[in-house]
Amino acid sequence: MGKKVALTGNEAAAHAIRQIEPDVIAAFPITPSTPIPQAVAQFIADGEMDTELVTVESEHSAMSACIGAAAAGGRVMTATSANGYALMWEMLYIASGMRLPIVMAVVARALSAPLNIHGDHSDIMGGRDTGWIQIIAENSQEAYDGLIQAVKIAENKDVMTPALVAMDGFNISHAIEIWEMEDDKAVKDFIGEYKPLFPLLNTDDPVTHGAWAPPNWYFEHKMSQLKGLLAAKDVVAKVGKEFGEVFGREYGLYEAYKLDDAELVIVAAGSVCGTTKDVVDKLREEGQKVGLLKIRLFRPFPYKELADALQSAKAIAILDRVSPAGAQGGPLFNEIRSALYDTPTRAPIINYTYGLGGRDTQPIHINSVFDRLKKIVETGKIEKQFDCLNLRGEWR
């Protein structure tokens, strides 16, 4: 039986890692994920987990050592944020290209400059095309549950792809919440034992890992890798269901919150979904048909399922916690709008950037989004396709 605990998101991730008990962790501290390797180091020092922690000299080496360790043939995890994630960038492609089921907790944070240590999605969105499975958590419980599921998803033989579970810096990582921690043994039984496919340490059957592939082979490798990533969609759903059967909390590819008949819909990911749910509840009490589509699996992007879930909408607002950086809207906006193109709905769709560098997003701001959607439905006009929430002054 699990037990209710009141701990931070970082502690939730650390306990998940303790219970998963990977063979090797290689990590380098960076705010706001630092408490994760610290807690792991303490667990190891207290004999509470049998894991080797490699205290590397940089995140680049953290991911390099994770790759070496995973190729050697054991379970491997790490954690990082922001510039650390960016410093790993080269190695993220290599981990996924080598089909190594590494699992990483990313405490999502803004990227410099200006230097900022607070939450947003600049890191994970910057790495969205690195071939990793990306799961985004709304709260500590989802971060904890997600990391446990990620092990099983990444190691699935049809997938064999590294996976990250992201939680918002500070909003989740440093906030104390009540969540359910399962029994150590139950977690171990759920993930099962890892059996590597081509371990480097099997010297009786020497394998060459990380060969180079010229134009007559590279393409095939990348497309075969893509199959593994795409296969993760069904596996995420399957593992989410199994998790529900065992622990009572079922997970899908996304969460539809009061969405069935919703006409005004917000699409978002991460901790802002908690705030949005509160606002949806209040507006529903007033009789307004509002709802939230919460993204859980961002890579591979389950575009068909998400588009289907949006068919009742008369107006949609996508919240991106990252600057669009010269594109026509943020990454989530582009994905959703593209997914809807092939469907009957022609609901107007707008985009907000919010929460950059830890900027607070409160119910009043979410309310303003629903107000805007209401006005669009009433007037049939989109005055501003892109806007900012809680920015000092007007944006353009």
Binding site: A26, E57, G73, G74, L201, T208
Partner: protein, 311 residues
């Protein structure tokens, strides 16, 4: 050490079919490494940094490696092998791996002196048990002979060319051995494939030490340095005999010079047969050769003095 005809019968870790240039000494060095390793007692696993040696031996769908081998990127052979070695210790402790395995990281000067220095320093400081071999060919040869911090003073490369007003690389080589020594690791050495018994002794010793070890090997490059393929070992020998490349080892902080040329040759003997130094023999560049000789002498005197003082 075993006789040559016995060594020749040993299992090869690097087999034929690779795509190295004719006359390249990467494979020569690697075969000496495998000949030195006690493969009856332990198995070998290798991590390679991106570079000539890596691209010419691991070209999908082929491989020249008869032992487990991993390549990930340019700057991280040390951190990659650190991960492999860590997993080995864990799985050994957990009873999932039974064999005795030793670990070797191979990189060249670019991946060691320059971009890989941080990862190497970190891995040595953490005390992973691995042998790091730097095959030093004095430049970024895989990308077409660009300068590295190991390029010798006066050497011409594509990014430190000699021209109307420049004489090639204007700075002396980085003293990587001193940097490595500064980590106070149990064993570090400098070797040359021309002195193969010495190289093999060093490899054998390094693989038996508990902790990180480092061997810097001169790796003459026929293409980048500009000499006929059959001259590679001769050039390496000239580097040793001119003391451009002293053979020495540092064991627990104490230096031992393994080879003192009976007659220390002037550096011009080493420079003359190589195209990369040809411009130094033009009128007006005498001072560069003089300076080169001065740097070599200074380094050699310093090593001799250290040995004499037991440091």
């Amino acid at each position: 050490m075993a006789l040559l005809n016995e060594l020749a019968k040993k299992k090869e870790g690097l087999v034929s079919g690779h795509r190295l240039c004719p006359g390249c000494t990467h494979s020569v060095i690697m075969r000496q490494v495998f000949a030195a390793a006690d493969t009856d007692k332990y198995d070998i696993v290798i991590a390679a940094a991106t570079g000539c040696f890596e691209v010419s031996t691991g070209l999908y769908p082929y491989t020249s490696w008869n032992v487990p081998w991993i390549h990930t990127a340019f700057e991280n052979a040390a951190s990659t092998i650190a991960g492999v070695e860590t997993m080995y210790r864990v799985l050994k402790r957990k009873g999932k791996v039974k064999k005795d395995i030793r670990f070797i990281a191979i990189a060249s000067d670019g991946g060691t002196y320059d971009i890989g220095l941080q990862a190497l320093s970190g891995a040595i400081e953490r005390g992973h048990q691995f042998l790091y071999i730097c095959n030093d060919n004095n430049a970024y040869q895989n990308t077409g002979n660009q300068r590295s911090s190991a390029t010798p003073f006066g050497g011409s490369t594509t990014t430190s060319p000699n021209g109307k007003v420049k004489f090639g690389k204007e700075q002396p080589r980085k003293d990587i051995m001193s940097i490595i020594e500064g980590h106070h690791l149990p064993y570090a050495a400098q070797a040359s494939p021309s002195n193969w018994r010495d190289l093999m002794n060093k490899v054998k010793k390094a693989l038996d030490v508990n902790g990180p070890t480092y061997i810097n090997v001169i790796e003459p490059c026929t293409t980048g340095w500009g000499f006929p393929p059959e001259k590679a070992i001769e050039i390496a020998q000239l580097a040793v005999d001119t003391c451009v490349w002293p053979l020495y080892e540092v064991e627990n902080g104490k230096i031992k010079i393994n080879y003192k040329p009976q007659k220390k040759l002037p550096v011009v003997e080493y420079l003359k047969p190589q195209r990369r130094f040809a411009h130094l023999f033009k009128k007006g560049n005498e001072h560069v050769i003089e300076e080169f000789q001065r740097q070599v002498d200074e380094q050699w005197e310093w090593l001799l003095k250290r040995e004499e003082c037991g440091l």
